[in-house]
Protein backbone atom coordinates (compact mmCIF):
# COMPACT_ATOMS: atom_id res chain seq x y z
CA UNK A 1 0.00 0.00 0.00
CA UNK A 2 2.70 2.41 1.00
CA UNK A 3 4.64 2.00 -2.20
CA UNK A 4 1.55 2.64 -4.30
CA UNK A 5 0.85 5.86 -2.44
CA UNK A 6 4.48 6.89 -2.58
CA UNK A 7 4.67 6.41 -6.30
CA UNK A 8 1.43 8.35 -6.71
CA UNK A 9 2.83 11.26 -4.72
CA UNK A 10 6.00 11.02 -6.77
CA UNK A 11 4.05 11.19 -10.03
CA UNK A 12 2.02 14.16 -8.83
CA UNK A 13 5.25 15.93 -7.89
CA UNK A 14 6.76 15.19 -11.28
CA UNK A 15 3.65 16.51 -13.02
CA UNK A 16 3.77 19.72 -10.99
CA UNK A 17 7.48 20.15 -11.72
CA UNK A 18 6.75 19.48 -15.40
CA UNK A 19 4.13 22.23 -15.49
CA UNK A 20 6.49 24.72 -13.84
CA UNK A 21 9.30 23.72 -16.20
CA UNK A 22 7.06 24.18 -19.26
CA UNK A 23 6.06 27.68 -18.14
CA UNK A 24 9.67 28.52 -17.32
CA UNK A 25 10.75 27.30 -20.76
CA UNK A 26 8.11 29.51 -22.40
CA UNK A 27 9.50 32.47 -20.46
CA UNK A 28 13.17 31.63 -21.10
CA UNK A 29 12.75 31.04 -24.84
CA UNK A 30 11.18 34.47 -25.11
CA UNK A 31 13.61 36.22 -22.76
CA UNK A 32 16.73 34.96 -24.56
CA UNK A 33 15.04 35.07 -27.98
CA UNK A 34 16.00 31.47 -28.68
CA UNK A 35 13.32 31.22 -31.34
CA UNK A 36 13.50 34.78 -32.60
CA UNK A 37 11.24 37.75 -32.02
CA UNK A 38 8.06 35.82 -32.73
CA UNK A 39 8.18 34.12 -29.32
CA UNK A 40 7.80 36.74 -26.55
CA UNK A 41 8.42 35.92 -22.86
CA UNK A 42 5.27 34.75 -21.09
CA UNK A 43 5.43 37.62 -18.59
CA UNK A 44 5.37 40.14 -21.42
CA UNK A 45 2.28 38.47 -22.90
CA UNK A 46 0.50 38.59 -19.54
CA UNK A 47 1.60 42.21 -19.11
CA UNK A 48 -0.69 43.42 -21.88
CA UNK A 49 -3.64 42.31 -19.75
CA UNK A 50 -2.91 45.37 -17.57
CA UNK A 51 -4.06 47.62 -20.39
CA UNK A 52 -7.84 47.95 -19.92
CA UNK A 53 -8.55 48.33 -23.65
CA UNK A 54 -6.66 45.13 -24.51
CA UNK A 55 -8.35 43.29 -21.67
CA UNK A 56 -11.78 44.35 -22.94
CA UNK A 57 -10.87 43.36 -26.49
CA UNK A 58 -9.64 39.93 -25.40
CA UNK A 59 -12.63 39.36 -23.12
CA UNK A 60 -15.13 40.31 -25.80
CA UNK A 61 -13.42 38.12 -28.41
CA UNK A 62 -13.28 35.21 -25.98
CA UNK A 63 -16.97 35.55 -25.18
CA UNK A 64 -17.93 35.71 -28.88
CA UNK A 65 -15.92 32.59 -29.71
CA UNK A 66 -17.17 30.75 -26.63
CA UNK A 67 -20.79 31.53 -27.56
CA UNK A 68 -20.27 30.33 -31.12
CA UNK A 69 -18.48 27.17 -30.01
CA UNK A 70 -21.17 26.41 -27.41
CA UNK A 71 -24.00 26.96 -29.89
CA UNK A 72 -22.18 24.83 -32.47
CA UNK A 73 -21.60 22.07 -29.93
CA UNK A 74 -25.28 22.07 -29.02
CA UNK A 75 -26.57 22.05 -32.61
CA UNK A 76 -23.98 19.55 -33.84
CA UNK A 77 -24.60 17.18 -30.92
CA UNK A 78 -28.41 17.32 -31.24
CA UNK A 79 -28.43 16.79 -34.99
CA UNK A 80 -25.93 13.93 -34.92
CA UNK A 81 -27.66 12.14 -32.05
CA UNK A 82 -30.99 12.36 -33.90
CA UNK A 83 -29.39 11.13 -37.15
CA UNK A 84 -27.59 8.28 -35.36
CA UNK A 85 -30.84 7.19 -33.67
CA UNK A 86 -32.57 7.36 -37.05
CA UNK A 87 -29.87 5.09 -38.45
CA UNK A 88 -30.48 2.45 -35.77
CA UNK A 89 -34.28 2.69 -35.98
CA UNK A 90 -34.20 2.29 -39.78
CA UNK A 91 -31.22 0.00 -40.50
CA UNK A 92 -31.73 0.51 -44.27
CA UNK A 93 -30.36 4.01 -43.86
CA UNK A 94 -27.36 3.04 -41.73
CA UNK A 95 -24.70 2.42 -44.41
CA UNK A 96 -25.64 5.56 -46.34
CA UNK A 97 -25.60 7.74 -43.22
CA UNK A 98 -22.18 6.34 -42.24
CA UNK A 99 -20.70 7.24 -45.62
CA UNK A 100 -22.33 10.66 -45.63
CA UNK A 101 -20.82 11.42 -42.22
CA UNK A 102 -17.37 10.25 -43.38
CA UNK A 103 -17.48 12.33 -46.58
CA UNK A 104 -18.76 15.44 -44.77
CA UNK A 105 -15.94 14.96 -42.28
CA UNK A 106 -13.42 14.95 -45.13
CA UNK A 107 -14.65 18.25 -46.59
CA UNK A 108 -12.13 20.94 -45.58
CA UNK A 109 -13.91 23.23 -43.13
CA UNK A 110 -12.85 26.42 -44.91
CA UNK A 111 -14.30 25.14 -48.18
CA UNK A 112 -17.77 25.74 -46.76
CA UNK A 113 -17.00 29.41 -46.17
CA UNK A 114 -18.49 30.88 -49.36
CA UNK A 115 -21.63 28.76 -49.09
CA UNK A 116 -22.21 29.63 -45.44
CA UNK A 117 -21.62 33.33 -45.95
CA UNK A 118 -24.23 33.25 -48.72
CA UNK A 119 -26.73 31.36 -46.59
CA UNK A 120 -26.25 32.14 -42.88
CA UNK A 121 -24.06 35.25 -43.10
CA UNK A 122 -20.70 36.15 -41.61
CA UNK A 123 -21.96 36.19 -38.02
CA UNK A 124 -23.67 32.83 -38.29
CA UNK A 125 -21.05 30.79 -40.09
CA UNK A 126 -18.64 30.18 -37.15
CA UNK A 127 -21.36 28.39 -35.16
CA UNK A 128 -22.38 26.32 -38.19
CA UNK A 129 -18.76 25.32 -38.91
CA UNK A 130 -18.36 24.44 -35.21
CA UNK A 131 -21.49 22.27 -35.47
CA UNK A 132 -20.04 20.51 -38.52
CA UNK A 133 -16.71 19.95 -36.76
CA UNK A 134 -18.58 18.44 -33.81
CA UNK A 135 -20.97 16.38 -35.92
CA UNK A 136 -18.70 13.53 -36.99
CA UNK A 137 -17.30 12.77 -33.52
CA UNK A 138 -20.79 12.84 -32.03
CA UNK A 139 -22.26 10.70 -34.80
CA UNK A 140 -19.58 8.03 -34.44
CA UNK A 141 -19.74 7.93 -30.64
CA UNK A 142 -23.56 7.85 -30.57
CA UNK A 143 -23.73 5.10 -33.18
CA UNK A 144 -21.31 2.89 -31.27
CA UNK A 145 -23.02 3.84 -27.98
CA UNK A 146 -26.36 2.60 -29.30
CA UNK A 147 -24.73 -0.77 -29.97
CA UNK A 148 -23.19 -0.88 -26.49
CA UNK A 149 -26.12 -2.57 -24.71
CA UNK A 150 -25.19 -6.13 -23.77
CA UNK A 151 -26.66 -9.06 -25.69
CA UNK A 152 -28.05 -10.53 -22.48
CA UNK A 153 -30.11 -7.40 -21.83
CA UNK A 154 -31.32 -7.32 -25.40
CA UNK A 155 -32.34 -10.96 -25.22
CA UNK A 156 -34.33 -10.34 -22.04
CA UNK A 157 -36.25 -7.49 -23.66
CA UNK A 158 -36.82 -9.52 -26.83
CA UNK A 159 -38.02 -12.52 -24.80
CA UNK A 160 -40.45 -10.30 -22.91
CA UNK A 161 -41.82 -9.13 -26.25
CA UNK A 162 -40.70 -5.51 -25.98
CA UNK A 163 -41.32 -3.39 -29.06
CA UNK A 164 -38.43 -1.73 -30.86
CA UNK A 165 -39.41 1.64 -29.47
CA UNK A 166 -39.37 0.28 -25.92
CA UNK A 167 -35.99 -1.36 -26.49
CA UNK A 168 -34.65 1.90 -27.83
CA UNK A 169 -36.01 4.06 -25.01
CA UNK A 170 -35.46 1.68 -22.10
CA UNK A 171 -32.22 -0.03 -23.07
CA UNK A 172 -30.25 1.32 -26.01
CA UNK A 173 -30.50 5.07 -25.35
CA UNK A 174 -29.55 4.78 -21.64
CA UNK A 175 -26.70 2.41 -22.58
CA UNK A 176 -25.45 5.01 -25.09
CA UNK A 177 -25.15 7.80 -22.51
CA UNK A 178 -21.52 7.15 -21.44
CA UNK A 179 -20.34 7.03 -25.05
CA UNK A 180 -22.29 10.17 -25.93
CA UNK A 181 -20.73 12.00 -22.98
CA UNK A 182 -17.33 10.71 -24.09
CA UNK A 183 -18.04 12.05 -27.58
CA UNK A 184 -19.10 15.43 -26.15
CA UNK A 185 -15.80 15.68 -24.26
CA UNK A 186 -13.83 14.93 -27.42
CA UNK A 187 -16.03 17.28 -29.43
CA UNK A 188 -15.57 20.34 -27.20
CA UNK A 189 -12.09 21.24 -28.58
CA UNK A 190 -13.42 20.52 -32.08
CA UNK A 191 -16.18 23.07 -31.49
CA UNK A 192 -13.61 25.70 -30.47
CA UNK A 193 -11.61 24.84 -33.58
CA UNK A 194 -14.67 25.11 -35.82
CA UNK A 195 -15.69 28.47 -34.36
CA UNK A 196 -12.22 29.93 -34.84
CA UNK A 197 -11.83 28.58 -38.37
CA UNK A 198 -15.28 29.97 -39.14
CA UNK A 199 -14.10 33.38 -37.96
CA UNK A 200 -11.17 33.24 -40.38
CA UNK A 201 -13.74 33.59 -43.07
CA UNK A 202 -14.43 37.22 -42.35
CA UNK A 203 -16.41 37.22 -39.10
CA UNK A 204 -16.71 40.69 -37.51
CA UNK A 205 -15.32 39.63 -34.09
CA UNK A 206 -13.89 36.76 -32.08
CA UNK A 207 -10.59 35.14 -31.19
CA UNK A 208 -10.06 33.87 -34.75
CA UNK A 209 -10.28 37.40 -36.12
CA UNK A 210 -7.97 38.66 -33.36
CA UNK A 211 -5.42 35.91 -34.12
CA UNK A 212 -5.27 36.76 -37.81
CA UNK A 213 -5.26 40.54 -37.42
CA UNK A 214 -2.57 40.41 -34.70
CA UNK A 215 -0.49 38.14 -36.95
CA UNK A 216 -0.80 40.51 -39.90
CA UNK A 217 0.00 43.60 -37.83
CA UNK A 218 2.97 42.03 -36.01
CA UNK A 219 1.32 42.54 -32.60
CA UNK A 220 3.21 39.57 -31.21
CA UNK A 221 2.06 39.85 -27.57
CA UNK A 222 -1.59 40.26 -28.56
CA UNK A 223 -1.24 37.31 -30.93
CA UNK A 224 0.09 35.11 -28.14
CA UNK A 225 -2.53 36.35 -25.71
CA UNK A 226 -5.26 35.43 -28.21
CA UNK A 227 -3.63 32.02 -28.75
CA UNK A 228 -3.49 31.41 -24.99
CA UNK A 229 -7.13 32.47 -24.63
CA UNK A 230 -8.14 30.00 -27.35
CA UNK A 231 -6.10 27.25 -25.66
CA UNK A 232 -7.69 28.10 -22.31
CA UNK A 233 -11.19 27.92 -23.80
CA UNK A 234 -10.47 24.49 -25.28
CA UNK A 235 -8.87 23.17 -22.07
CA UNK A 236 -11.64 24.45 -19.79
CA UNK A 237 -14.46 23.08 -21.97
CA UNK A 238 -12.68 19.73 -22.24
CA UNK A 239 -12.09 19.59 -18.49
CA UNK A 240 -15.66 20.61 -17.59
CA UNK A 241 -17.28 18.10 -19.93
CA UNK A 242 -14.80 15.43 -18.83
CA UNK A 243 -15.82 16.02 -15.21
CA UNK A 244 -19.51 15.86 -16.10
CA UNK A 245 -18.85 12.59 -17.88
CA UNK A 246 -17.06 10.98 -14.99
CA UNK A 247 -19.76 12.20 -12.57
CA UNK A 248 -22.61 10.87 -14.70
CA UNK A 249 -21.36 7.93 -16.70
CA UNK A 250 -21.38 5.36 -13.88
CA UNK A 251 -25.17 5.79 -13.49
CA UNK A 252 -25.69 4.25 -16.93
CA UNK A 253 -23.24 1.37 -16.83
Amino acid sequence: MRTVRDSRVQTALLVAVGAVLALAAMEAIGRFQLLGRGWPPLSQVLDILHTPATRTLLGRSLRTTADEAGLGLLIGALVSVVVAVLGTVLPVLQAGLDRLAAVLNAVPLIALGPLLIATVGREGSPAVIAALAVGFVMFVSTTSGLEAASTAHRDVLAALGASRTTTLLRLRLPAAVPMVLDGLTQAAPAAVLGAIVGEWFGAPSGLGLLLVSAMQNYQTELLWAAGLAAALLAIVSYAVLGTVRSLMAWRFR
Binding site: L14, W39, A95, A111, P189, V197, W200, A234, A239
Partner: protein, 259 residues
Protein backbone atom coordinates in the same frame (compact mmCIF):
# COMPACT_ATOMS: atom_id res chain seq x y z
CA UNK B 1 -23.68 -16.76 -72.62
CA UNK B 2 -24.05 -17.72 -69.00
CA UNK B 3 -20.53 -16.33 -68.39
CA UNK B 4 -21.43 -12.86 -69.60
CA UNK B 5 -24.67 -13.06 -67.64
CA UNK B 6 -22.69 -13.76 -64.47
CA UNK B 7 -20.39 -10.84 -65.21
CA UNK B 8 -23.37 -8.57 -65.74
CA UNK B 9 -24.99 -9.81 -62.56
CA UNK B 10 -21.80 -9.25 -60.61
CA UNK B 11 -21.46 -5.76 -62.09
CA UNK B 12 -25.04 -4.91 -61.14
CA UNK B 13 -24.44 -6.35 -57.68
CA UNK B 14 -21.37 -4.16 -57.21
CA UNK B 15 -23.32 -1.16 -58.46
CA UNK B 16 -26.08 -1.98 -55.99
CA UNK B 17 -23.57 -2.17 -53.13
CA UNK B 18 -22.04 1.18 -54.04
CA UNK B 19 -25.50 2.70 -54.36
CA UNK B 20 -26.72 1.33 -51.02
CA UNK B 21 -23.67 2.82 -49.32
CA UNK B 22 -23.32 6.12 -51.09
CA UNK B 23 -26.93 7.01 -51.89
CA UNK B 24 -26.86 9.79 -49.29
CA UNK B 25 -23.84 11.43 -50.92
CA UNK B 26 -25.43 11.09 -54.38
CA UNK B 27 -28.72 12.45 -53.06
CA UNK B 28 -26.90 15.43 -51.55
CA UNK B 29 -25.18 16.19 -54.86
CA UNK B 30 -28.44 15.81 -56.78
CA UNK B 31 -30.32 18.06 -54.35
CA UNK B 32 -27.57 20.66 -54.64
CA UNK B 33 -27.69 20.61 -58.47
CA UNK B 34 -31.49 20.80 -58.52
CA UNK B 35 -31.55 23.56 -55.90
CA UNK B 36 -29.12 25.69 -57.88
CA UNK B 37 -31.09 25.16 -61.10
CA UNK B 38 -34.52 25.68 -59.59
CA UNK B 39 -33.62 28.88 -57.75
CA UNK B 40 -31.55 30.16 -60.70
CA UNK B 41 -28.84 31.03 -58.19
CA UNK B 42 -25.94 33.06 -59.35
CA UNK B 43 -22.82 30.92 -59.78
CA UNK B 44 -20.98 33.43 -57.56
CA UNK B 45 -23.12 32.32 -54.63
CA UNK B 46 -23.25 28.58 -55.24
CA UNK B 47 -21.91 26.94 -58.40
CA UNK B 48 -23.69 23.79 -59.52
CA UNK B 49 -21.76 20.55 -58.87
CA UNK B 50 -21.56 19.80 -62.59
CA UNK B 51 -19.82 23.12 -63.34
CA UNK B 52 -17.33 22.51 -60.51
CA UNK B 53 -16.44 19.03 -61.75
CA UNK B 54 -16.09 20.23 -65.33
CA UNK B 55 -13.78 23.05 -64.22
CA UNK B 56 -11.53 20.46 -62.58
CA UNK B 57 -11.47 18.24 -65.67
CA UNK B 58 -11.07 21.15 -68.14
CA UNK B 59 -8.13 22.76 -66.31
CA UNK B 60 -6.09 19.95 -64.79
CA UNK B 61 -2.89 22.00 -65.02
CA UNK B 62 -4.34 24.74 -62.81
CA UNK B 63 -4.90 22.20 -60.05
CA UNK B 64 -1.91 19.88 -60.48
CA UNK B 65 0.77 22.28 -59.21
CA UNK B 66 -1.03 23.36 -56.03
CA UNK B 67 -2.07 19.77 -55.36
CA UNK B 68 1.58 18.67 -55.61
CA UNK B 69 2.62 21.37 -53.12
CA UNK B 70 -0.08 20.44 -50.65
CA UNK B 71 0.75 16.75 -50.92
CA UNK B 72 4.46 17.42 -50.43
CA UNK B 73 3.77 19.65 -47.42
CA UNK B 74 1.49 17.06 -45.86
CA UNK B 75 3.77 14.09 -46.51
CA UNK B 76 6.86 15.84 -45.09
CA UNK B 77 4.92 17.04 -42.04
CA UNK B 78 3.29 13.65 -41.56
CA UNK B 79 6.64 11.84 -41.70
CA UNK B 80 8.31 14.30 -39.32
CA UNK B 81 5.40 14.19 -36.90
CA UNK B 82 5.25 10.41 -36.86
CA UNK B 83 9.02 10.05 -36.33
CA UNK B 84 8.93 12.62 -33.51
CA UNK B 85 5.90 10.92 -31.97
CA UNK B 86 7.64 7.56 -32.11
CA UNK B 87 10.80 8.92 -30.48
CA UNK B 88 8.91 10.71 -27.73
CA UNK B 89 6.86 7.59 -27.01
CA UNK B 90 10.04 5.54 -26.67
CA UNK B 91 11.66 8.19 -24.44
CA UNK B 92 8.59 8.33 -22.20
CA UNK B 93 8.47 4.54 -22.05
CA UNK B 94 12.11 4.46 -20.97
CA UNK B 95 11.92 7.05 -18.24
CA UNK B 96 9.20 7.38 -15.64
CA UNK B 97 10.58 10.77 -14.73
CA UNK B 98 10.22 12.08 -18.29
CA UNK B 99 6.73 10.63 -18.45
CA UNK B 100 5.72 12.61 -15.34
CA UNK B 101 7.41 15.80 -16.48
CA UNK B 102 5.76 15.71 -19.90
CA UNK B 103 2.26 14.95 -18.60
CA UNK B 104 1.13 18.62 -18.36
CA UNK B 105 2.29 19.35 -21.90
CA UNK B 106 0.54 16.26 -23.21
CA UNK B 107 -2.69 17.12 -21.38
CA UNK B 108 -2.60 20.53 -23.05
CA UNK B 109 -1.91 18.98 -26.45
CA UNK B 110 -4.82 16.59 -26.04
CA UNK B 111 -7.37 19.34 -25.58
CA UNK B 112 -6.02 22.24 -27.63
CA UNK B 113 -6.71 22.06 -31.37
CA UNK B 114 -3.30 22.68 -32.97
CA UNK B 115 -4.77 24.14 -36.14
CA UNK B 116 -6.03 27.15 -34.18
CA UNK B 117 -2.40 28.05 -33.48
CA UNK B 118 -1.49 28.51 -37.17
CA UNK B 119 -1.08 32.30 -36.81
CA UNK B 120 1.13 31.91 -33.71
CA UNK B 121 3.25 29.21 -35.36
CA UNK B 122 3.61 31.33 -38.48
CA UNK B 123 4.85 34.27 -36.42
CA UNK B 124 7.51 32.06 -34.78
CA UNK B 125 8.81 29.92 -37.65
CA UNK B 126 8.10 32.23 -40.57
CA UNK B 127 5.27 32.51 -43.06
CA UNK B 128 4.86 30.14 -45.96
CA UNK B 129 6.18 26.60 -46.19
CA UNK B 130 7.96 26.40 -42.77
CA UNK B 131 4.71 27.20 -40.98
CA UNK B 132 2.70 24.75 -43.10
CA UNK B 133 5.18 21.95 -42.43
CA UNK B 134 5.31 22.75 -38.71
CA UNK B 135 1.53 22.62 -38.44
CA UNK B 136 1.24 19.27 -40.24
CA UNK B 137 4.07 17.95 -38.04
CA UNK B 138 2.27 19.04 -34.87
CA UNK B 139 -1.05 17.63 -36.13
CA UNK B 140 0.44 14.17 -36.74
CA UNK B 141 2.73 14.14 -33.69
CA UNK B 142 0.19 13.73 -30.93
CA UNK B 143 -1.92 10.80 -32.20
CA UNK B 144 1.27 8.93 -33.11
CA UNK B 145 2.73 9.51 -29.66
CA UNK B 146 -0.42 8.37 -27.85
CA UNK B 147 -1.01 5.31 -30.00
CA UNK B 148 2.60 4.10 -29.97
CA UNK B 149 2.93 4.62 -26.23
CA UNK B 150 -0.21 2.59 -25.57
CA UNK B 151 1.18 -0.08 -27.90
CA UNK B 152 4.50 -0.16 -26.01
CA UNK B 153 2.70 -0.47 -22.70
CA UNK B 154 0.29 -3.16 -23.88
CA UNK B 155 2.82 -5.90 -24.67
CA UNK B 156 1.64 -9.28 -23.36
CA UNK B 157 3.12 -10.05 -19.94
CA UNK B 158 4.01 -13.61 -20.95
CA UNK B 159 6.34 -12.25 -23.62
CA UNK B 160 7.97 -9.63 -21.40
CA UNK B 161 8.48 -12.36 -18.79
CA UNK B 162 10.28 -14.55 -21.32
CA UNK B 163 12.57 -11.66 -22.22
CA UNK B 164 13.19 -10.91 -18.54
CA UNK B 165 14.02 -14.55 -17.78
CA UNK B 166 16.46 -14.65 -20.69
CA UNK B 167 18.15 -11.55 -19.27
CA UNK B 168 17.41 -9.14 -22.12
CA UNK B 169 18.38 -5.51 -21.57
CA UNK B 170 15.72 -2.80 -21.80
CA UNK B 171 16.87 -1.53 -25.23
CA UNK B 172 16.80 -5.13 -26.44
CA UNK B 173 13.25 -5.62 -25.14
CA UNK B 174 12.24 -2.37 -26.81
CA UNK B 175 13.75 -3.29 -30.16
CA UNK B 176 12.92 -6.96 -30.37
CA UNK B 177 9.57 -7.11 -28.60
CA UNK B 178 7.85 -3.80 -27.97
CA UNK B 179 8.50 -1.90 -31.18
CA UNK B 180 7.27 -4.72 -33.42
CA UNK B 181 4.32 -5.03 -31.05
CA UNK B 182 3.54 -1.31 -31.49
CA UNK B 183 3.53 -1.39 -35.31
CA UNK B 184 -0.26 -1.93 -35.56
CA UNK B 185 -0.80 1.11 -33.34
CA UNK B 186 1.56 3.13 -35.52
CA UNK B 187 -0.54 2.15 -38.53
CA UNK B 188 -3.72 3.19 -36.71
CA UNK B 189 -2.05 6.55 -36.05
CA UNK B 190 -1.28 6.83 -39.76
CA UNK B 191 -4.94 6.20 -40.60
CA UNK B 192 -6.04 8.79 -38.05
CA UNK B 193 -3.58 11.52 -39.02
CA UNK B 194 -3.08 11.22 -42.78
CA UNK B 195 -6.43 12.82 -43.73
CA UNK B 196 -6.18 15.52 -41.08
CA UNK B 197 -2.61 16.34 -42.15
CA UNK B 198 -3.89 17.16 -45.66
CA UNK B 199 -6.73 19.29 -44.29
CA UNK B 200 -4.44 21.08 -41.83
CA UNK B 201 -1.95 21.80 -44.63
CA UNK B 202 -4.76 23.26 -46.71
CA UNK B 203 -5.96 25.45 -43.83
CA UNK B 204 -2.45 26.73 -43.16
CA UNK B 205 -1.96 27.46 -46.86
CA UNK B 206 -5.27 29.28 -46.92
CA UNK B 207 -4.20 31.58 -44.11
CA UNK B 208 -0.59 32.22 -45.04
CA UNK B 209 0.83 29.93 -47.70
CA UNK B 210 2.15 31.15 -51.01
CA UNK B 211 1.39 27.85 -52.74
CA UNK B 212 -0.84 24.84 -52.51
CA UNK B 213 -4.55 24.07 -52.64
CA UNK B 214 -5.37 26.40 -49.75
CA UNK B 215 -3.80 29.34 -51.57
CA UNK B 216 -5.56 28.34 -54.80
CA UNK B 217 -8.80 28.40 -52.83
CA UNK B 218 -8.06 31.76 -51.17
CA UNK B 219 -7.11 33.37 -54.50
CA UNK B 220 -10.20 31.95 -56.20
CA UNK B 221 -12.37 33.48 -53.47
CA UNK B 222 -10.65 36.86 -53.81
CA UNK B 223 -10.91 36.89 -57.60
CA UNK B 224 -14.50 35.59 -57.49
CA UNK B 225 -13.92 32.33 -59.33
CA UNK B 226 -16.38 30.11 -57.44
CA UNK B 227 -15.90 27.04 -59.65
CA UNK B 228 -12.15 27.17 -58.98
CA UNK B 229 -12.67 27.62 -55.22
CA UNK B 230 -15.09 24.71 -55.00
CA UNK B 231 -12.86 22.69 -57.29
CA UNK B 232 -9.96 23.14 -54.85
CA UNK B 233 -12.26 22.07 -52.00
CA UNK B 234 -13.43 19.06 -54.01
CA UNK B 235 -9.84 17.95 -54.70
CA UNK B 236 -8.87 18.39 -51.04
CA UNK B 237 -11.87 16.27 -50.02
CA UNK B 238 -11.03 13.54 -52.53
CA UNK B 239 -7.34 13.54 -51.47
CA UNK B 240 -8.27 13.38 -47.79
CA UNK B 241 -10.64 10.45 -48.38
CA UNK B 242 -8.03 8.75 -50.57
CA UNK B 243 -5.40 9.14 -47.81
CA UNK B 244 -7.79 7.54 -45.35
CA UNK B 245 -8.57 4.63 -47.68
CA UNK B 246 -4.88 4.12 -48.51
CA UNK B 247 -3.83 4.21 -44.84
CA UNK B 248 -6.61 1.78 -43.97
CA UNK B 249 -5.41 -0.50 -46.76
CA UNK B 250 -1.84 -0.44 -45.43
CA UNK B 251 -3.14 -1.11 -41.93
CA UNK B 252 -5.29 -4.09 -42.99
CA UNK B 253 -2.49 -5.55 -45.04
CA UNK B 254 0.41 -5.26 -42.61
CA UNK B 255 -1.02 -4.90 -39.08
CA UNK B 256 -1.86 -8.61 -38.88
CA UNK B 257 1.79 -9.62 -39.29
CA UNK B 258 2.77 -7.94 -36.03
CA UNK B 259 -0.03 -9.22 -33.83
Amino acid sequence: MSGSGAVLRRFLGALGTVFSRYWTVLALLLAWELWVRARHLNAIVVPAPYSVVSDVFDNPSAYAGPLGHTLLNSVVGLALGMVLGLWCAMAVWFSRMLSGLLTPLLLVMRSVPVVVMIPVVARVVGFGTPAVTTITTLVSFFPTFVMVLSGLRAAPTAMTDVFAVLGASRPMVLRRLLLPHAVPELLVALRLTAPSAVLAAMLAEYLLGRSGLGTLFADAVVFVAPQRAWGAALIATVVSVACFVAARGVERRYAGRFR
